[in-house]
């Protein structure tokens, strides 16, 4: 049923709740896990400056060490969890608008299931920060498993 499971991650606690579920499913179905980190262009532009967007376009993401490190840490966390259970992992880093990239990646790599964490935000916080998960749901036709994050108070 599921041969390739995609876990989009931004390295936060929220996206890590999805890992457990993805690993468990992958083990049952003998599937491969794809860990995807998306470098958000908006975050690059507003956070590092518009010139850095050009730097990425020129193929120089490799020289932006901190960005690269953050991406590798995020996908690495997924890879560690998966390899502990002997599951094959593909780590990927892309640049763009997160939801669009996730849905494109799912199509390109023939993903069967997307497992993604969500803040379960509501009200003002949701309006301000938006929900990448919600947009992924709307932009992909692949099955999506949403795992809500429940903070321990």
């Amino acid at each position: 049923m599921y041969d390739r499971i995609l876990v989009p991650t931004d390295g936060s606690d929220v996206s890590e709740v999805a890992i457990e579920h993805a690993v468990d499913l992958a083990e049952k179905y003998d599937a491969e896990i794809h860990a995807l980190y998306v470098v958000d262009v908006d975050a690059v532009s507003f956070g590092l400056g518009a010139e850095q967007v050009d730097r990425i376009r020129q193929g120089h993401l490799g020289e932006m060490e901190e960005v690269e490190e953050k991406a590798n840490d995020a996908t690495g966390a997924v890879a560690d969890a998966a390899s502990a259970h002997g599951i094959d992992v593909v780590e990927a880093v892309r640049v763009g608008q997160p939801h669009a990239v996730v849905s494109k990646y799912a199509d390109d790599e023939d993903i069967d299931l997307v497992v993604i964490g969500s803040h379960g935000r509501s009200g003002v916080r949701r309006a301000l920060l938006g929900s990448v998960t919600e947009r992924v749901l709307r932009s992909t036709r692949k099955p999506v498993l949403v795992v809500d994050f429940e903070p321990e108070d």
Partner: protein, 562 residues
Amino acid sequence: MSLLLPMQSGLLPEGLNVSFKLIPAILVLAMLGLFLVIGFVFKVADTEGMWVAGRSIGNVENGMAIGANWMSAASYLGMAALIALSGFYGLAFVVGWSTGYFILLIFMAAQMRRFGKYTAPDFVGDRYNSDTARAIAAVTTFLIGFVYAIGQARGMGLVGLYIFGDLGILGLTGYQSMVVFMMTITVGYLSISGMMGATKNMAVQYVILIVAFLAGLYVVGYVNGYSTVLPHIEYGEMFSVLSNEFSEPFVHQSYYLWIATAFSLVVGTCGLPHVLVRFYTVESERTARWSTVWGLGFICLLYLSSPAFAAFGTDLYSNQIGDVYGDPGMTSAAGDVIVVLAAQLSNLPTWFVGLVAAGGIAAAIATVAGLFIAGSSAISHDIYANIINPDATQRQQVLVGRLSIVALGVITTLAALNPAAPIAALVSYAFSLAGAVLFPMFFLGLWWENTNRQGALAGMTTGLIIWIIPMINEVLPTYVSSLDSTISPVLAQWVPAIGSALVAVPVVFIVTIAVSLATEEPDMETKRLVRQCHSPEPMDRMESAEEVVSTDGGEDVEGGDA
């Protein structure tokens, strides 16, 4: 203390045809649309190839981007305005702003490239290993964006009057309505243009502004019989007919003020965060140097033309409207639109005058975009993600960045409703700040390895204080009705807000060096980082000093661990 905004502020350039004009309005909107389309076409879509080198940005294109990012309403409108109003004093701007690029070229462009960071506060924070230094640099960056943009808002507000007329928003005056309108457009443009790269758009913005300016100059010169092929020189014939400000320098402004202004503009140029960011990202040191040369060349195209435009405008004004100098004389509002006014007084068709006006708006928007992005990255990257919340997700950084831009937009608009000075002077305040606080940190940080954290903190604090005192002395009274025009005229004479860097820079250098000498030397790692910025060995493309130091030690290590 009553702090209230709209007191007089019905800035109205006399002689300017203030009404809604369809074709120029379409021209401006089409221009904005074009920026968005270019951004969309060249947006970072899917970047599977982002680890492989793509097409790099060449020297010429980089140079154009430098030109557009650099030349704001202050260059396009304000420079001619000051020359028209104050004659030779205004040349301090031509001299200061172009000399600044030589210093940048010789001492900083390639070295900055070697250091290779993201933002200006990044450099300060990493070079001096201090979050406090990073925070001060970030706050300064934000402040520079704010002060610099007030002048841009004033420029857009005045030029917008010609194109859109008196909008009369919420009982505000025509000028104020236009400031609100234009700033709303600018912030709106910025908040949707995040995904787009900067360079392509900036190159287009440069082309628009330089074509509009030169076309304006040549046509105005030709139809009035002032000039034919080289107005930049031909306007010299008018010196005798132009009023005293042109022929007798320093009648109204002292030599000291001229030097203070020019010096501030030179060092400010080398300290402006939104100018320096480009040098971190260019392909190589060589590109950094050649881009600067091209950039300066593109900038000089406008700077050499500006005095001629001012001369033509002044003559047209005195023939058709009234005496430029004396009482009442030309107001600073009319001065700030002298470029547009000259085209209008030459009885040129409205679409052509609209083109000249649109060029001014392109200049202002391009620069505000650069300034606001530098301000937002200072807050979201340097303060929020580096200091407040190291675990910040990308979404949170976007949110903080967007909020910073909106905040900058709002405070800039409010301050511009009743601006304290003409465009070029407003912008100079930002140059004084950049020159006093950031330039010494960049310069000493790159050239003297013993500059340490304590020295940097002491120096930046000193710079901020020396900048703020004349600002309170001269500028604050405009916004606080209970204060007289200038609190201390003596202070204003010797430490003018427009040129406070002349006093601040030597003091900050002395303080930074003295404190650095008196305290512990920086560690070996930092020193090697600085040495690597000057190593005679060319670095590979895409390398930064930090990488070289962390991989092979950069050089023979004296006892430290590599």
